[in-house]
Symmetry: C2
């Protein structure tokens, strides 16, 4: 096994991925578990980091994601956009001389502002790895979907949508919950939701799902896919994409396929990117550019 | 006290209003409580009706609202639109010769379909009482907001939006919950939400609330009013109103003021209607037109 040079942790609210990476940026060992912020809790981070080092090697460690939020290990202040990997490296928040947290990004827009933590590594890593060009629109779907415009290799601006969280709220607690237990796949009902989303009448379309099932106009089994199409279609519509615009999508396969279908239906051209590859490329570049890690 | 001729129950999921009404349509006694469907439960309705008669008089009884749904007393099938008060009277579902349930309405639209239970009495009662003309657009905000087009004194079509339920879900369980505990009133933050709603970018605007509070761009105290403005503004936008269009609003005072502000901001002309007066006028007309009540 090649020797790892550092450890990288993609440390989110629910999940955590740990990578041992060599000096060339190759992953030599990895773990995935549910030791996210919720499970670790305030005060539990030093012991978790020690346990990771005990398992994967006593090496420098870079942590990214919600671990740098007020509910994480320590608060690592946002860096303002535009920002590239050098600025993320310069903005590292040091826990000790061998442990640092990657800062999130903030941006100001005409409308207001936005924030991210963790996705910046994947976005800039996509460019660093040559998976996306230095001027591109990237999308990372999830509980909160991030849309980032990259220009000259920097994150220029971004926009977060509440798409995944809204679907989860509707599925768990709403009047529609009883219809939304089914699997969601790209198919006729999903496409119908995408088409409906063009009208920007989400509040009415959502109630319509229940009404149409009650009236026998829609199969209850179809409702989850239709609502997913409504929400993802709305998310894509909100981005006001240009016809034929290329969008690089970083997602798990299932969700990635739904966004690809929604983007294609909206006249855009989706290109999937493997988000783990992007993360590893990004965090390796930050490690290389960081000043002051002690071995 | 004038003598009551019949009892009318506006029987919803959570709340219940009972009226003792004389032959002229004047309320001679009334009650409001929380003995809605959830509290009464399956099988509990006959005893509830007997208790109402014991308190307010042993009279014919008309029930309207979710009491006629599958989760209510008995299922009273929807009547299709267009429909007027005579059709509601003809469609009464009889429990016994002195007790009947007003049917809900269904409608088919180009998009799909919609249903209502209870609001049809208020809408048609508004016209019967002379509170709205026989050709009008009426709106009843609430957990599910109903928009009904009345033509020639009949409900021609309607559309339900999930506005109130979505606000409740966001306030109770979402990432935004911590910011949404405050009171909502018509003010600068509410107006800002109305303005933002014009862009039809709800999924992004919702996440933006959290980001802007974190970045110090928005006061946390303002967030509830802003999100309410976003949602109510979206609801009004979805109706594609004509400039200067009159909209009759049946609502509690607080919510009615928010919808009035949203309608005015969208260039429409709101007119408040007292929904209890409308209900009593509607249910009295149904009672008059019903064939077969035994005293």
């Amino acid at each position: 096994m090649p020797e790892a040079a550092f450890l990288a942790v993609d440390w989110g609210t629910t999940n955590r991925r740990v990578y041992a990476i060599d000096a060339d940026g190759t992953v030599v060992a990895g773990e995935r578990d549910d030791r996210g912020l919720t499970a670790v809790g305030a005060g539990g981070f030093p012991a978790e980091a020690a346990a990771i080092r005990a398992r994967l090697g006593d090496l420098p460690m870079l942590c990214a994601g919600m671990v740098g939020s007020a509910r994480g290990w320590v608060l690592a202040p946002y860096r303002p956009c535009p920002a590239d990997l050098t600025e993320l490296a310069a903005g590292l928040h040091w826990i000790d001389p061998r442990t640092a947290i990657v800062p999130g990004l903030s941006c100001r827009t005409a409308r207001g502002g936005d924030v991210m933590r963790g996705e910046e590594v994947q976005f800039l890593g996509s460019v660093a790895a040559g998976l996306a060009p230095a001027d591109a629109l990237l999308c990372q779907p999830g509980t909160h979907c991030k849309w980032a415009r990259i220009g000259g290799g920097r994150v220029e601006s971004f926009r977060t949508t509440m798409t995944g969280e809204l679907f989860a709220l509707l599925r768990r607690d709403s009047l529609l919950a009883e219809f939304l237990a089914g699997e969601v796949a790209d198919g006729a009902a999903f496409s119908e939701g995408l088409t409906a989303a063009r009208d920007a009448t989400l509040l009415g379309d959502l109630f319509g799902v229940r009404a149409e099932v009650l009236l026998g106009l829609r199969a209850g089994d179809d409702a989850a896919a239709y609502v997913s199409g409504l929400l993802i279609g709305s998310d894509v519509r909100e981005q006001a994409l240009h016809p034929g615009e290329r969008v690089y999508v970083l997602a798990e396969p299932g969700l990635g396929e739904l966004y690809a279908a929604a983007l294609a239906a909206a006249g855009a051209r989706p290109s999937p990117i493997d988000s783990q590859t992007a993360f590893v490329a990004g965090v390796t570049e930050i490690w290389r550019r960081a000043d002051g890690f002690e071995g």
